[in-house]
């Protein structure tokens, strides 16, 4: 979803050469709005404190999902917004781009929302987000000592995630 076409005139940071820090930050929320994971790789500017930041992000996504579904000119079937849907089904937004960053979003049927904020020249990250979700299932959900709904503290997950995100160009 792009509001204005990526114009070359507006200033944007130089394209990093896949040196490992293309991602700025990442959020994982669950269905109830609890921030399960917040990871930061390259974020020079902090506007709000962490709590407000998470709340703003969750609220933003909730509103955007609702907006995109209601403004859909194509889909005749007005699905209930609370109904779990596979990523891609119904009308779901998946990214927005500004001149300084691109925010990619994926929501799973179980209500897990994965948000990745990267460089604006990044391509479509839907497959990457699906892979990150599979990492989540593997290392967090299947971890016997993880209790659902609590912040993720698994080292295995953090390492695998870090490695993967650094390799996304």
């Amino acid at each position: 979803m792009q509001f204005f076409g990526g114009s070359e005139i507006s200033p944007s940071p130089p394209v990093p050469t896949a040196s490992g820090n293309n991602a700025h930050m990442m959020y994982v929320f669950n269905r109830n709005g609890i921030c399960l994971l917040y990871k930061e790789w390259n974020r020079p500017l902090h506007t709000l404190n962490p709590q407000q930041d998470h709340k703003l992000m969750f609220g933003l996504l909730f509103s955007l999902k609702s907006l995109t579904a209601k403004m859909d000119p194509v889909n005749a079937d007005k699905g209930n917004l609370g109904v779990p849907q596979l990523p891609g089904q119904g009308c779901s937004f998946h990214s927005f781009r500004t001149n300084t960053y691109k925010l990619s979003f994926m929501e799973t049927p179980s209500g897990i929302k994965i948000i990745l904020v990267t460089h604006p020249k990044t391509g479509d990250l839907r497959e990457s987000l699906k892979y990150i979700y599979s990492l989540y299932v593997e290392y967090v959900v299947k971890n016997p000592i993880y209790s659902p709904g609590s912040p993720i503290k698994s080292e295995l997950f953090n390492t695998a995630l870090d490695q993967y995100v650094r390799s996304i160009s």
Binding site: K142, N143, P144, K153, S154, E155
Partner: protein, 173 residues
């Protein structure tokens, strides 16, 4: 005809079993929960050993039986063999699995706020205790297998370095 089940089903069921026994049935009595889980493992091991030793002749001595567990039995149940077997030739065997399948996704949270590296702090032992609950089932399985082969023993597990897991078998004389 071999019937198959998804591994994630088995994993989830084991997780739930431990959660039920240590969280609901014997909520404040971890020793009783542990004993119950180990008893379930014992029954499972008993039956599995019948199935996997069907066409084999009797084992000539204890070492042969332990080697059976390390190679054939472990491959059937965990798709790999035991990596290291040690014995003191006086009834104690240590089976070391460098990447124990049921613990491969367990990850203890790193503790950033601790100033001292004291291993006996409450946080450390709580995590270790939580993980050790998941080991009673495999210990029971091993005990069940050996007792069905005529070798009464006691089995315990040692997880000083995850995901490496060592099972210590002490044969009763």
């Amino acid at each position: 005809m071999v019937r198959e089940v998804a591994e994630s089903c088995v994993d989830t069921m084991l997780m739930e079993m431990v959660a039920m026994y240590s969280g609901r049935f014997y909520a404040n009595k971890p020793e009783l929960a542990a004993r119950r889980i180990e008893a379930i493992g014992y029954q499972v091991g008993h039956q599995l050993s019948e199935r996997y030793t069907m066409e084999r002749p009797r084992f000539s001595d204890h070492l042969e039986a332990i080697k059976f567990i390390c190679k054939d039995f472990w491959s059937e149940v965990f798709k790999k063999q035991i990596d290291n077997l040690k014995t003191n030739h006086r009834g104690t065997f240590v089976l070391q699995d460098n990447k124990f399948r049921w613990l491969s996704r367990v990850s203890v949270e790193p503790s950033p706020e601790k100033e001292t590296e004291d291993p006996s702090t409450p946080g450390e032992s709580k995590a270790a205790q939580a993980v050790s609950m998941y080991l009673y089932f495999p210990c029971g399985i091993i005990r069940g297998v050996l007792s069905n082969l005529g070798i009464p023993c006691a089995v315990s597990a040692d997880i000083s370095s995850l995901p490496t897991c060592s099972f210590v078998i002490r044969v009763k004389a």
